[in-house]
């Protein structure tokens, strides 16, 4: 198998000017122009400047021309290029964000949907533009207690960073309720930040809005510092990445888990409690952040396989080769823009592969994917054929009542 990419945190002080003097820059100089990055990029054919070309332009001192193109708006930060680059150049997380930042500043017009998501995030701390006060509304219908640190600030074992989709979006809230049930079943001492939580900012950073990201990071770290806890567990695959790669240079140093890896670590205790047989044929979609970026290919599969009755089948593109849902790097709010350019929605492409496996459940582990895939199933008329479930939802469904 391809080794997961090295887990190096991202340096804050890198700029395009000093990049080539750093070890990372020297690695960029070693590019052999093989085109693997462009060839593997899900939107490579729509880019005037795919990663290979960007490096070529950078080395020839012609990067200015790249900023004039909106080509990199097509990058959905899926880590495919980074994972397969034979020189291990950290494209998605180092080079491309720096170029995107410049491009973003020069964009004549930011696509509307993206613009408002970013503005909302700045103003309300979530891309939907909903009130921070409503962040914990999902708890009301749950029937289980969830401790909010603001109200009850005594030290806690697990600080669960819920993230936006899973707090506000109805289908995301089901994910959160499943997490609570699993935590309760395992007897985990956990709490959430409630209304104090803000978007972790990974998408802002990866679409090129570094300023917004800095604001969000500062704010979240400030809140973390107020409380005492042993570890952070988050439902957001993108939040996980933000904390792992982008927050450390700002002092974030807590042990970290995604809910999927957290429950995978507790699989032995969880297994006896998974009593309900689920007669599903499941195919698992590797989220880009958890899979390619962090190498968590087997953990979510182990969870799915632990559920009695479930049969796991693989899509043509799986693990390191999985096709992105199209939601990363701001792609979540660029669907209209992509459509206007005549580009296929990646979630449509992915769902077709999922349906072709004959599975009836598409299992996911990143909160973006629920809405994207449900939407794609509907558009393509597959909504009767297949449902989308987060791995934690499947686990909760299998819990003994």
């Amino acid at each position: 198998m391809v080794a997961p990419t090295e887990t190096l945190t991202c340096q804050d002080d890198l700029t395009l000017e000093n990049l080539l003097q750093t070890p990372e820059g020297q690695r960029i100089m070693s590019c052999i122009q093989c085109g693997m990055c462009a060839g593997t990029c899900p939107y490579g054919e729509h880019m005037n400047y795919p990663p290979r070309q960007i490096i070529n332009m950078l080395r020839s001192g012609l990067l200015e021309e790249v900023y004039q193109s909106d080509s990199l708006l097509n990058c959905v930060a899926c880590y495919a290029c980074l994972a397969k680059c034979p020189r291990k150049i950290r494209l998605t997380e180092v080079l491309l964000p720096l170029v995107k930042e410049q491009m973003f500043e020069k964009l004549p017009e930011v696509p509307k949907e993206l613009q408002s998501a970013l503005q909302n995030t700045l103003r309300y701390g979530n891309p939907m533009g909903l009130s921070p006060l409503k962040r914990t509304d999902w708890i009301k219908s749950l029937g289980l207690p969830v401790r909010v640190l603001q109200k009850d600030p005594k030290p806690v074992d697990v600080l669960w960073f819920v993230e936006c989709q899973t707090s506000y979006y109805p289908r995301g809230q089901e994910n959160s309720r499943a997490v609570v049930r699993l935590m309760a079943a395992l007897g985990i001492d956990f709490a959430i930040l409630g209304n104090e939580e803000r978007c972790a900012g990974e998408c802002a950073r990866l679409v090129g809005e570094a300023g917004l990201f800095d604001t969000l990071r500062e704010r979240n770290i400030g809140v973390f510092r107020k409380y005492r806890f042993n570890r952070v567990v988050t439902s957001g695959a993108h939040a996980f990445d933000a904390f792992k790669y982008l927050y450390p240079s700002f002092g974030f140093d807590y042990p970290l888990d995604h809910t999927t890896t957290f429950f995978a670590d507790h699989l032995n205790e969880l297994k006896p409690k998974l009593a309900r047989k689920l007669d599903y044929r499941v195919t698992y979609h590797d989220s880009c952040c958890l899979g390619r970026h962090n190498g968590f290919y087997e953990e979510p599969r182990a969870l799915v396989n632990a559920i009695p009755g479930v049969k796991l089948v693989e899509m043509v593109h799986n693990r390191v080769n999985a096709i992105c849902c199209g939601g990363g790097g701001g792609g979540m709010w660029l669907d209209t823009y992509y459509k206007s350019k005549g580009m296929e929605r990646l979630s449509d492409r992915r769902v077709q592969e999922a349906v072709a496996t004959g599975a009836d459940v598409l299992a996911v582990s990143c909160p973006y994917e629920i809405s994207r895939f449900e939407d794609a199933l509907k558009t393509l008329g597959y909504e009767k054929k297949m449902i989308v479930r987060d791995v934690v939802e499947l686990l909760a469904e299998s819990l003994r009542e």
Binding site: M36, C37, A38, E45, K88
Partner: protein, 660 residues
């Protein structure tokens, strides 16, 4: 000469043109050394290593009755032997000599003339204080036993063995498979000439068998190596093949007679693309041309309850022997050539190419078998689904030039990919798409070969293949899409093909580390055996008397493999012709007050120390000792002494360098 005689030292400092004299004031040094106790003559001279320079020493020794000599010049690596020879000519023991390096250690690395001169004086003083303590030593000669072991019967091992045998050397050729031939035996044609591999290889294989100087042991492995250059004791395990080699005529009537009417077991020689019976011959031209029985699938060997129709068919030839046991044999040889070759990269490690998932994805070696007339399909390129491909993609650099797998370029893949492009096209008229990163065709006639194949009308696409997946519009026909960026066009191409051929890398053998340990060799970071010097000692290893040939040292083509095998044979031959090796006398020895603590034994990098249980003392084998000094420094009771590095020699040298 006895130690009672007064010490009379001759000191010489060399100008080395301006190499030394340009930075060091050699005349001042010579004048200074003349004032030191024991020095009878002190001179500077333009080129000490020249004939007149050596004459100068010779004359001084005789005229001034010198009994010690110190030369301050370049590195001992370069000229220590020169000067030792010179003083030996004058009748002095060559070890009454000390060399001072005032070039590499001084003039070449300093710019300040005054300080460089002072340093030269200090170094000269150290040598002058040391040399009176030198003892007369003797260079020992160790005989080289006749006989060479060649490990691995690929083209490298075959060529080395034949060369040595041709010169009258006794050779043991050891091969772990049932036949010699290695990878080359699997090919149909070879680049760059496209000549038939069997036509050039099988005569050499037969010559091995015919040579009275070669003992060929197939199905054999080395389990232990003891001894040292000139005198290696090698323990060999000969696995049972359940067929007596001398009695089998290779008629294969037994194979026809086997109770299994159809061949139903995966055939290793054809990489599983064909089938064989439990009793089989790997391929028709196998050497030795005898059958072998596979104990994993033979009913008699598994259960003892077979009708043994093979035995009946063999009749009074009596070649089949189900009782055959593994044999352990010890042989003594003077030198060893390691020629264990390579293994191909397992393409499942690049999962995005679909090897092992899609049946129409093949590795290049499998395709070599498919195009081979004696292969599983009789030379027809028929895929696992029974079809002949109309469009074929060849993916270069699979497992090469990639930090995620192997960093090196495997050197032969571009060329064998071009070869396969030609052969597949010749057999099927299919459209061929070669996806490459850089087309690497170094070597004689290789670029011409590239030109020839390219002009036949291949599609050459510059771009590393990113993805191989079933064509979604094709249902279950097995058509695949090969996706890449055509970097020269700047376009993404999605090429539909029927067959994908992966040009897999050449990797070290999986047991290379075991072999390395057994023969006390080194490996580079990639795991190939390391040559002593990349340019000047390409077939030598760091262990004397052990040489390398072929792909075990790194990926290479057949021409280079054969050239290297010839070179390794010549090195082994040279040692054996000389009949002895000269042993530097700077070896260590254990004194009588050794307490037997054994702490030195595991430290010796050359395993030269053993324990004499009767005397309860460590013993150093002079022939193995390389004079590294590790044990000397480690001995807690100071009971190991090393020639030329005895305490009084070292201490007086240190005093000399520190005194001012």
């Amino acid at each position: 000469m006895t130690n009672k005689e007064p010490i009379r030292i001759g000191f010489y400092i060399c100008h080395c043109g301006t190499n030394i004299a340009g930075t060091v004031d050699v005349e001042t040094v010579a004048r200074y050394v003349a004032t030191l106790p024991g020095v009878a003559v002190s001179r500077d001279y333009k080129y000490m290593c020249s004939d007149p320079g050596q004459e100068l020493i010779l004359r001084d020794i005789q005229e001034h009755t010198l009994n010690r000599v110190v030369v301050a010049s370049c590195s001992p690596l370069l000229h220590e032997q020169t000067f030792r020879n010179a003083i030996q000519k004058a009748g002095l023991n060559p070890f009454y000599f000390q060399m001072v390096n005032v070039r590499e250690h001084n003039s070449w690395v300093h710019t300040d003339r005054l300080e460089a001169t002072q340093k030269a004086m200090a170094l000269a003083r150290a040598a002058v204080q040391r040399v009176p303590h030198h003892k007369p030593l003797e260079v020992k000669k160790v005989p080289v036993q006749p006989g060479v072991l060649v490990l691995g019967g690929g083209i490298a091992g075959i060529h080395a063995a034949l060369t040595l045998a041709g010169g009258g050397q006794k050779v043991y050729l050891l091969e772990r498979e049932a036949t010699i031939g290695g990878h080359m035996a699997k090919f149909d044609k070879t680049f760059p000439t496209l000549d038939c591999a069997a036509c050039i290889l099988t005569p050499k294989m037969s010559a091995v068998r015919a040579s009275s100087n070669i003992t060929l042991w197939t199905y054999s492995e080395v389990v232990k190596v003891d001894g040292y250059v000139g005198n290696y004791k090698v323990t060999v395990r000969r696995k049972p093949r359940y067929v007596i080699e001398d009695l089998c005529t290779g008629c294969r009537e037994c194979v026809d007679a086997c109770v299994y009417r159809d061949a139903k077991f995966s055939d290793e020689f054809n990489l599983g693309l064909g089938k064989r019976k439990p009793i089989y011959m790997p391929f028709p031209q196998a050497v030795p041309p005898v059958v072998v029985i596979d104990p994993q699938t033979c009913i008699e060997l598994k259960t003892g309850k077979c009708k043994k129709t093979c035995l009946e068919a063999c009749g009074d030839r009596h070649a089949i022997d189900f009782q055959q046991k593994e044999e352990i044999v010890e042989i003594t040889v003077g030198t060893i050539i390691v020629a264990t070759g390579f293994k191909i990269f397992d393409a499942r490690r690049t999962p995005y190419y679909g090897y092992g998932v899609y049946p129409n994805v093949y590795n290049a070696l499998e395709v070599e078998r498919l195009v081979n007339a004696s292969g599983p399909t009789g030379g027809e390129i028929v895929m696992r689904n029974g079809q002949v491909p109309k469009r074929v993609a060849i993916v270069h650099c699979v497992g090469s030039r990639d930090e995620n797998t192997n960093r090196w370029c495997s050197r032969v893949c571009c060329l064998y990919s071009l070869k396969l492009a030609h052969l597949i096209h010749e057999h099927t008229r299919a459209e061929i798409y070669n996806f490459y990163i850089d087309m690497r065709t170094p070597g004689k006639s290789m670029e011409e070969f590239y030109t020839r194949i390219a002009s036949e009308g291949m599609h050459l696409i510059r771009g590393k293949v990113a993805d191989v997946y079933p064509d979604p519009s094709d249902g279950a026909q097995g058509r695949l899409i090969v996706q890449a960026e055509d970097t020269l066009l700047g376009r993404i191409v999605k090429t539909p093909v029927d067959m994908v051929v992966l040009a897999v890398a050449l990797e070290p053998q999986p047991d290379a580390q075991d072999v390395r340990r057994m023969f006390n060799m080194s490996c580079g970071a990639e795991g190939f055996f390391l040559e002593r010097h990349p340019k000047l000692a390409p077939v030598n290893t760091f262990t004397d008397g052990i040489f390398l040939a072929g792909c075990c040292q790194g990926p290479k083509d057949i021409p280079d493999t054969v050239a290297q095998a010839g070179a390794a044979a010549a090195e082994a031959y040279a040692l054996s012709c000389r009949g002895h090796i000269e042993q530097e006398p700077n070896t260590a020895s254990v004194l009588d007050d050794c307490s037997g603590c054994k702490s030195c034994i595991p430290l010796c990098p050359y395993t030269a120390i053993s324990f004499d249980a009767d005397r309860k003392k460590a013993v150093i084998n002079e022939a193995l000792c390389k004079g590294c000094g590790t044990c000397v420094a480690s001995c807690p009771s100071g009971s190991i002494k090393q020639n030329l590095f005895e305490d009084e020699e070292i201490f007086s040298e240190i005093e000399g360098v520190l005194a001012c």
